[in-house]
Symmetry: C2
Subunit: 365 residues, 2 copies
């Protein structure tokens, strides 16, 4: 079915999905990876990768689909996928994507906010293949050296908000050769699936997932940030005292979320998991930054001091807490990757009914 | 007196200095700006700019002084200042320099650490003129695209540690055209003073001041971080439980401080200043980041709610605290500048003996 034929809000043509996905909303489809599967491997399988959508999933025909490069590019250029593929070198990168709302349920526990109720797994690592946005911008003769320009992406998604999905990033990121922004058509070595933007999407490493627009239809070079609701009225952050009665005066002064903040989560044991007395268990989790090195991840089992762990093996060993050293995040050509942190803990001296963890996370200052 | 003639620890030839400087150590000379003078103007006067030294102040003769470019550059190149000035375009930038130990006295109040006891003014904004290190590296045919190389700077300072002063930065920063790393010979439009590195120094915007080596003698392209004590055994950060008995096993796993963290301080009123009941006063301070935009600075007068300040003028107005919006930091070609924050507060409803402030600072996520 072509997107032109699709009715707004018609969910009769959704792709099939893995039953393991934790579904937070069915229409539009929003689902995340079960935490233990997230930390099973460094690379997240495509069919277990979190899905964020704002409307019915487009079902596009690659043979007729065109990408338009416009805005300040006049006249606009139209390109088929195979034409896009002839622009610039094909590049394969590893990059983390994560929803800005990842772990929103933890925010909700403090104060209720709007948005999809994500747990900790609206995040994933994948390998992406495409051409650099920089090369496409150069091909279109865009002024890539202008620090004030922005580059807008519009997808073929008919969103719940009765608009296509659109968003932007600054030209400084879009054209940065080390920024690794791609027009990607492959994920983990295979063509994109419908859930992940077939036939063509943007991948913006180190930025919130909302800027990595799927089902890409247009790239516009524009003099200011995108005016789409997803840039101006969504994905912004406010102080705790701001509420839905007072936010309207504040939207324009709040900046658009872009670069990721440093963040970590424990995926195993799972929340509220009960571990039997004296049974060994393994702690696994992730740590992610905006691309700067994760220099240390500390994990502490509250009120419990690990014994038998030598300080020289665990440089962050403390006298009142147990710390472990996380593997450093891979920093390869500024690609952003979360890293897995694993530690087996087997020396529990008393009965544990419920484990509470805290993490302390440092990135390179 | 030439540096060759100077004895280690001979402080008989120090330059004259402004009596307003707050001296933290006389030999070597370490002094900072009085906080109210720091926020008087956006640009800090050279003779009030904080001074950090590790030994007697060199007194170099520009006519005989040579800069060597070496390490992996073989044979090494020797350049006079006038030869350096013929390499690449002359560039003038505004940049903040700050000591990594700025506000160490606040750390000391929690747990005693080593190092100069700085208050809040080991920081300053200046205008620097020089040539880009990138251009000098290209001139020397250095492999500027190798992400694993480092660039070491060695100055003509005979330090207390019985070594010259030396330090390094990654090639990715050294050669980044937007990184603005300069070999500078002018500060605020005049030749460098002796206290600030005459005749030639490095300026590394956005990095701790320890990397902006003064009295520059050598630039070495090297395959790993500088082995000088100032890179390997100084300017590193540890968890609070680490002490001088346990740190030795940890030096090598701790990363070298480089990029600045986000930070803010109030300079007026001064610490412990008493303000009379109902008298208006102005709050002034600074905010600094590693170059990302400072999006908001919040100031709260504890237990006091400002009246008569309209929420639409002060978007961060809260119901239980008074907030002000700081001016955004200037971000010009990735130069890092601290910004001044000013707010006049005149509506005090009860007697104030002592004002305690806290600041909340956000950079763009």
């Amino acid at each position: 079915m072509s997107s032109a034929k699709k009715l707004l809000g018609d969910y009769s043509n959704e792709p099939s999905r893995r039953p393991e996905l934790v579904v937070n909303s069915k229409e539009p489809f929003n689902a995340e990876t079960p935490p233990p599967l997230l930390v099973k491997d460094f690379k997240t399988p495509v069919d277990l990768f979190y899905v964020r959508s704002h409307g019915p999933t487009p079902d596009l025909d690659v043979s007729s689909h065109k990408l338009e490069i416009g805005g300040e590019i006049k006249p606009a250029i139209e390109l088929s996928l195979s034409e896009v593929q002839t622009i610039g070198q094909h590049v394969t990168i590893d990059a983390t994507l994560t929803c800005a709302g990842n772990r929103r349920n933890e925010l909700n526990a403090i104060k209720k906010v709007k948005g999809v109720g994500w747990e900790i797994s609206a995040i994933g690592n994948a390998t992406w293949t495409g051409v650099r946005l920089r090369d496409v911008l150069l091909h279109a003769k865009a002024n890539i050296d202008s620090p004030h320009l922005h580059v807008e992406f519009i997808g073929e998604e008919d969103c719940e908000e009765k608009t296509k999905y659109g968003s932007s990033i600054p030209m400084t990121k879009a054209a940065d050769p080390k920024g690794d922004v791609l027009l990607a058509w492959m994920m983990n070595g295979k063509p994109l699936t419908r859930d992940h933007g077939y036939p063509l999407r943007i991948v913006v490493p180190g930025y919130i997932g909302a800027r990595s627009v799927k089902w890409l239809r247009k790239v516009n070079v524009i003099p200011q940030e995108s005016q789409f609701v997803y840039q101006q009225r969504d994905y912004k952050l406010f102080l705790p005292h701001v509420n839905w009665d007072t936010v309207d005066a504040l939207w324009d002064s709040a900046f658009s979320l872009s670069e990721l903040s440093v963040q970590s989560a424990i995926c195993e044991p799972e929340k509220d998991q009960v571990i039997a007395k004296n049974s060994p268990y393994t702690i696994r989790g992730y740590a992610v930054s905006n691309g700067r090195r994760i220099t240390r991840v500390d994990v502490s089992v509250r009120k419990h001091r690990l014994k038998g762990i030598r300080p020289d093996r665990f440089p962050n060993w403390g006298t009142t807490s147990a710390f472990i050293m996380g593997k450093c995040a891979t920093l390869k050509n500024q690609t952003k990757l979360f890293s897995l942190v694993t530690h087996t803990h087997s020396d529990i001296g008393w009965q544990i009914k419920k484990i509470k963890f805290w993490r302390r996370l440092w990135d390179a200052l």
